[in-house]
């Protein structure tokens, strides 16, 4: 442990001081949202939920969020339309809005990047990781983005380099950094292990 940039995720917690509440979830992330909503007293207002169940996914998690009293739920089957909707929501959200993110790491940081660019403070944003721990990895050599990386060492899809996947997370690239493991001794590549299932 000890890499400062590695994200730390916590269970979502209701922020009573916020003037509006925006939940953004994908897949199993709906369960994390549900955990928060079930604790609330009836009559809490200004709750919006945007949920993604990708088309073709095995399970449809949106059902756990349906019929929540006083919650404006929008469901999406593609990440692009969801993120476009999130941008529109952020453009009109009041300054005291709390943003709750739940889903895969890549999904969380995609949404968090939009929030940052909209001017949100990181203290307004919470994230709970649900589902696969697969990483998105940025190759520092060829700049390719490798999706769904479960192993380190990983063969870069861009340049074929054997990449060590670091715990160093770049919020700007929304990816972990991968770099060549055998730069000192070409060909000396340790065995790849499944670390991020």
């Amino acid at each position: 442990m000890g890499i400062k940039s590695q994200p730390v995720y916590q269970p979502l917690e209701w922020m009573p001081s916020a003037s509006a509440h925006l939940f953004v979830s994908a897949g199993e992330g709906a369960l994390a949202v549900k955990e928060v909503l079930r604790e609330l007293a009836l009559g809490v207002s200004a709750i919006t939920v945007l949920h993604l169940d990708p088309s073709g996914a095995e399970n449809r998690y949106a059902t756990v969020l349906e019929n929540e009293f006083g919650v404006a739920l929008s469901t999406f089957d593609g990440e692009t339309p969801l993120m476009e909707k999130l941008e529109r929501e952020l453009a009109s959200a009041p300054a005291g809005t709390a943003l709750y993110l739940a889903g895969s790491e890549r999904f969380i940081w995609h949404a968090a990047g939009l929030a940052r660019r909209a001017g949100m403070s990181r203290h307004q944003v919470q994230a709970e990781m649900r589902g696969s721990k697969a990483r998105r990895v940025y190759c520092v050599h060829c700049k390719a983005i490798n999706e769904n990386v479960t192993h380190s060492i990983h063969r870069c899809g861009g340049c074929g380099t054997a990449l060590l996947v670091r715990d160093h997370y770049s919020r700007l690239m929304e990816a972990y950094v991968g770099f060549r493991i055998d730069a000192e001794e070409p060909g000396n590549v340790p065995e790849s292990e499944e670390l991020y299932a």
């Binding site: 922020m15 001081s17 916020a18 003037s19 952020l90 453009a91 009109s92 959200a93 009041p94 300054a95 005291g96 809005t97 709390a98 929030a115 909209a118 001017g119 949100m120 403070s121 203290h123 307004q124």
Partner: protein
């Protein structure tokens, strides 16, 4: 950094506000950012260091300008009265180079500027900078009446579209809660003026769930203070025991004993004079320590805060 300036020009802005233009006696003055203030030495009593916001445009003016409100004698040590009645063009004063505890945020999507009375001064330097950055902003300015509203004609002429004025003599109040309520994500609010205005803005922002990092405030005076009691400060490293009287602050007592402590605002707003406390209860009177530091009880802002139980042991 200390340097000498000469009063180049004195201009009456309102019944109680004069603007002083200060120029270097040799070479150029240090550059500064919008929201900066400087400290100027005034020959009143044993000598006073008063702080004033710079109202000049940091980009275009090589000189410093400050706008000074004449305070009533009962609320003042006489610095502003000296500047109003005795200061003359050509007088030379020692100043401390500008420091900034009230810088506009470059990352803001919108700036909400709230000024009460003489609290307009830092915003006079903000406006040309925000315009240059191409940022969106609105200025809300509360004043007693137009005759008391410094810079109002200039503001109306140059920034009329972004300005809303509130004449309190006509019963108009700055609608703090409504203004904050309608701000979108990414707005930063800045407030400068009387303590009660600052407190109202901070309370409304907290109520609406604004993050602290989006709320900026600059205070000029201490406002109404709880009574001060004398106490003893034990300095561990310099091995001194200093009696702080009811009439002085801890910072003043340390200066009297020649224990140098860096300082800037002297009204508990900037945190420059923070000291480490080893033992003793603290009567916190500052506006800058985060709540967690306050509770931890290991830090004290020496220009305003005092001992809660008669003695403090300091890492100094």
């Amino acid at each position: 950094m200390s340097l000498a300036v000469e009063i180049a020009e004195i201009e009456t802005l309102t019944l109680r506000v004069k603007r002083f233009r200060l120029r270097s006696r040799e070479g150029s003055l240090p550059t500064y950012s919008p929201g900066s203030s400087l400290r100027i030495h005034l020959p009143v009593g044993g000598g006073l260091w008063n702080a004033y916001s710079l109202t000049s445009d940091p980009w275009n003016e090589g000189d410093y300008a400050i706008a000074v409100r004449r305070e009533d004698p009962e609320h003042s040590k006489g610095g502003s009265i000296y500047l109003h009645e005795r200061a003359r063009v050509g007088d030379v004063h020692e100043i401390q180079a500008p420091t900034n505890h009230f810088l506009p945020a470059r990352t803001a999507r919108h700036h909400l500027l709230l000024a009460g009375g003489i609290g307009i001064t830092p915003f006079i330097a903000y406006l040309p900078s925000l315009e240059r950055w191409g940022h969106s902003f609105e200025l809300h300015y509360a004043y007693r009446d137009e005759a008391h509203a410094a810079f109002l004609p200039w503001l109306r002429q140059r920034w009329g579209k972004s300005l809303e004025g509130y004449a309190t003599a006509q019963g108009r109040r700055l609608p703090v809660a409504e203004l904050l309520k309608r701000q979108p994500v990414g707005t930063h609010v800045y407030v400068c003026g009387p303590i009660r205005l600052i407190e109202a803005v901070r309370a409304a922002a907290a109520e609406l769930g604004w993050p602290n990092s989006r709320v900026h405030f600059e205070q000029f005076s201490l406002g109404h203070e709880a009574p001060r009691l004398p106490f003893t400060a034990q300095l561990i490293r310099s091995q001194k025991s200093i009696a702080v009287s009811a009439a002085e602050t801890l910072l003043e007592a340390l200066e009297r004993e020649r224990v140098p402590v860096p300082y800037s605002c002297r009204v508990g707003g900037c945190g420059t004079c923070e000291l480490r406390v080893i033992r003793g209860g603290i009567d916190h009177r500052d506006h800058c320590l985060p709540p967690e530091d306050r509770e931890a009880g290991r830090s004290l802002i020496s220009c305003v805060s005092r001992a809660a139980n008669g003695e403090l042991v300091l890492d100094l």
